[in-house]
Symmetry: D2
Subunit: 343 residues, 4 copies
């Protein structure tokens, strides 16, 4: 059930609707829009009787939701969501550039990368302190020590920090030291973790699972939002197919599909999406051209010495070149189309 | 590194090897075999110098391990592992039958299913108290109340309980009330959870992820074992492909591949593997014929009323029929081949 | 449109229906069954008016067909089709065993394989004279010379010959020298070839394409039948997925799906389906257990010297062992179930 | 084996090398380049002795080829091939735009589309006279009548005609009436057809199969070239995966991979690649951004009345808009990078 308020509805009208929802034992989710506010209802087992709401003051419509997702839906919020991440935003008029090393290895490596990323004009820095590794014997990240270094990067360069958490302790720590909690592909359907992150106070970057359908990705976002965290950014990072010339197959058609169904921003990760250095820049361009709201790129001062995923990391020079290309590409595309390309 | 002891090595010889391993800052994993004991080493960053061990009393050989996995490997333990689950075993001479409803719904439903499963001669009962659901709005299971009902089923019918945990609290609870902790397909690469389950005192049933390669499945098992839990049972439950006539594509060739590389037992789940009632019995037969050590089957007294996955649940009658078929099939196959089919 | 005749309908009644169909500009396909004959209609653009037929003598029913396929359907022919291939049959009470080398290389190789296959009691022999090879520079087969050798094998051992054709000339040649035309996986949607084979006078073994859905496989069979060749045998030979432990992923759940929808027999190819010698026998057992009507197996007197696919070929001894296993398995399964397992 | 000639080698030197190749029983393929000519050798079973060539006049080097493909390789021809198609080129400095309806239905439909395509400045027109359809009962195309209409389109609008052939008769007919023979995805490994098209005198547009790996695509091109047809254009048109939000999954990372390994141009088909009207323009932009040499787009004056694939066809207005976007995008990208993006 979705309650659409009239444009002239007052705060008190909204509060009254929320009261009724609560009295019924459900939860209301307020989504302010440009022209009107909508209120999503979750927690109901069956369908909700619309007559509870139709005669309340300020209510324009009570709409039954037939799709399996409610809060991510454009029905609830027709305008695109602009997500505030630290001092920057994702989903607005600017291409969001998130760059940094796969894993935090040393201060030197981290600060060298951060300096180059800041110099490029990017607003966001990535770097893994907790690394989900296929083998238990591979390097697992520096943990909290790494997060503290990331916080220093923020202090020194003004970059907003995006970093992965793999469990509840990790989410608490990222909430403390970082600006955006990344949920990795392998945890996209770790529903307990999604619920926990849904109660965090920082935005969440949710990466698509290796074999997740569009619906599954959207419902994973719905898990976060149903707990009250509406600041969700999606990320396409390649899916697993038979094709063997790249590490994964980037599925760029999901970008227009996401923009058609949801109000959430979506970014593209051509580093994990391809796994090959020489493919990253072409696919970054493709991601921007298809309408993504941002890019997340792995850079390393010395890719050949990287402890993790060196084959896909760009050098600092390659990143500067990529950045120049995609910024002008983004401008061209947004100038071309009357409404934003991703609209 | 893998230390193979001589057949006549004494306990004290083994302890001496473990001491040296510990002194070096690593961890030793003792794997007793029919003819000799082997000791796996984990925790080393690079390769370990074999000369530390070669001259110790009772040591036959120090072997460098070149594969990414160590503890699951047949090199470490040439004989198949027989895993004790409550009062039963999986991986031994008997086909392990695990049956029960997808989700625990009511006492009536649970006990009706349990009575039929017990009557069939099965030793294991399944039933979900924590359900990983794609949508946050779907039925999520009865939680601890459900686990308590399962414990009653064990008391009444002598069935050993296999049930899923989705997070640390769930693992603690299953450890308390159940006999075997199931890690679901969506959590196969939830590495934090694997580590936690690796410290539990109950065996773990590890389901293959929807797009997991053989190596990824084996390394997930390795996560469990590296923490000291050697009682791991693998499970093939279908992978995600383009094929649309079944919910998933059962990949039965993984059974001989697992038996070739590891000492771990592997069972087959034709219920999730197909998603269609009419396919479950044929694919259960195929699973046994290919060499699986057991089956896990969804049964429901009234599939049409099931709160979860009703389309794939067998009726109690259908299950009895399936059980009869696969038991005689298993006998035939094991009689035919000099060594067990899965050898 | 599907015309079901009454059990007591006379030949002349059937002829009358065919006349009417022809007068309307369509084509009638007579499918005799145990209890009644049905007549499929093809060639119509839109739906056909049932009143043309309902009052003709001997007509029980005129049924509108809503599925995209008509002639393969159980609606047209509820009983399973038993396909005559030379002096043998596929789809009847006996497990059809087809064995032989991937490619015909030399007389010695071919006759050594044939002798062993005949000794096992198999009724069918395979061997490639025209080889579809990924590279233009790989061995492409002996062509007509190879077919002539196959004809000698038939004369000497009484084996019925199944061999692949890749184009119209090949179909003509196989029709002349062989007993069953194999259409390979890469040509499953070579619609011109299917039409041509649909006008041949020999049965067709149609292998599933590497990424063919069930519907696509059935419609490829429909192409053959629409041209008048009703002697079609389907074959599951593995699909292409991300899984890398086998050359392809055998999709055994298609066997019960095919038996549910169609009257056509389906066999299983565990040699191409797995690509690994050690997997062939377990998967052959699984194929029989799931309900396949036969197996097609690659054998070679000296697999290590094979010019093509040596890694998956069984030795003659291994084949004899496989054959013994699957024959007794087939008997057990057919004894167990009241109706045949594939029913 | 690959013979690289010296920059100053004379025609007579090249002829002498070809004579030696012929004398050895092999076939030579001359590939002129900007700075030097190379000669590929095919038809050899094993490796060729380089000493046959090393001392011939004008020979710089005889290089053993270790990859499975020879003639498509950059080793043979470091510069990109520019393929002449009628009066236009593909692979040169201009983005090749190929547009037109899926199937030729009527003169009106065809000429309405052609007028709009010509007005956009495109040099190439597509339209299917022979349609590979999954069902034998679906519209199969107008055949030669359709080809004659296409020839009229060329006469009237100066557009070069790209159209599919499904068999040898079709190739003869397209050679007569069209400018470029399209081999469809389902025939990518129809090796008999590839050989036949390799002997045609018109260029070939080779579409990637639904589950073809990069190597398989390249070797299919090699089939064409080994017969002497060096005018090959590749096409990415989406692969089959589990993802269900689009008809196929466009695999754009194959574009940089093809450009890295081969001298052949590659274009992108976002119409079949997505199957949804609203995705075509974003994915067309992405294709250009990733470095494709051209696009092939389905347009229809009235998509809602199309006899085939209407859901993915653009209206004439949408096509004009797409065209404007991709042309300026192509210019930007080629201006940005010192060497062409696809280099």
């Amino acid at each position: 059930m979705l309650i659409v308020m009239r444009p002239d509805a007052a705060e008190t009208d909204i509060d009254r609707v929320l009261d009724v929802i609560e009295t019924l034992g459900f939860r209301g989710h307020v989504m302010p829009g440009e022209n009107r506010t909508a209120i999503g209802i979750t927690g109901n087992k069956g369908s909700v009787d619309p007559t509870h709401f139709e005669n309340l003051r300020g209510v324009a419509q009570a709409i039954r939701v037939t799709k399996p997702y409610k809060l991510i839906s454009k029905e609830l919020r027709p305008e695109k969501s602009v997500i505030k991440v630290g001092t920057g935003t994702i989903g607005g008029d600017e291409l969001a550039m998130i760059a940094g090393p796969c894993a935090i290895e040393t201060r030197e490596q981290l600060f060298a990368a951060a300096e180059a990323v800041a110099a490029s004009g990017a607003r966001f820095f990535r770097g893994g302190a907790y690394k989900p590794r296929t083998s238990p014997y591979a390097f697992q990240g520096l943990g909290v020590e790494g997060l503290k270094m990331l916080a220093e990067v923020r202090d020194q360069y003004g970059l907003n920090i995006v970093t992965e958490a793999m469990d509840e302790r990790g989410i608490d720590a990222v909430e403390e030291y970082g600006d955006c909690i990344q949920i990795g592909a392998r945890n996209m359907q770790n529903f307990s973790l999604l619920r926990y992150a849904g109660r965090a106070k920082k935005p969440v970057l949710l990466k698509r699972g290796l074999s997740a359908t569009l619906d599954e990705l959207l419902l994973a976002a719905e898990y976060l939002m149903a707990e009250g965290n509406y600041d969700v950014i999606l990320c396409e990072r390649g899916i697993r197919t038979f094709a063997d010339h790249a590490r994964n197959t980037m599925d760029l058609s999901i970008i227009p599909a996401v923009h058609r169904l949801t109000h959430l921003p979506i970014i593209v990760d051509p580093s994990h999406g391809t796994g090959h250095n020489y493919m990253v820049t072409p696919l970054a361009r493709a991601g921007v051209a298809v309408g993504a709201d941002g890019l997340i790129i792995e850079v390393h001062p010395k890719p050949e010495e990287a402890m993790c995923d060196g084959a896909q990391a760009l050098t600092l020079e390659q990143y500067a070149d990529l950045n120049g290309q995609v910024i002008s590409l983004y401008k061209l595309i947004n100038a071309q189309v009357a409404e934003p390309v991703s609209g």
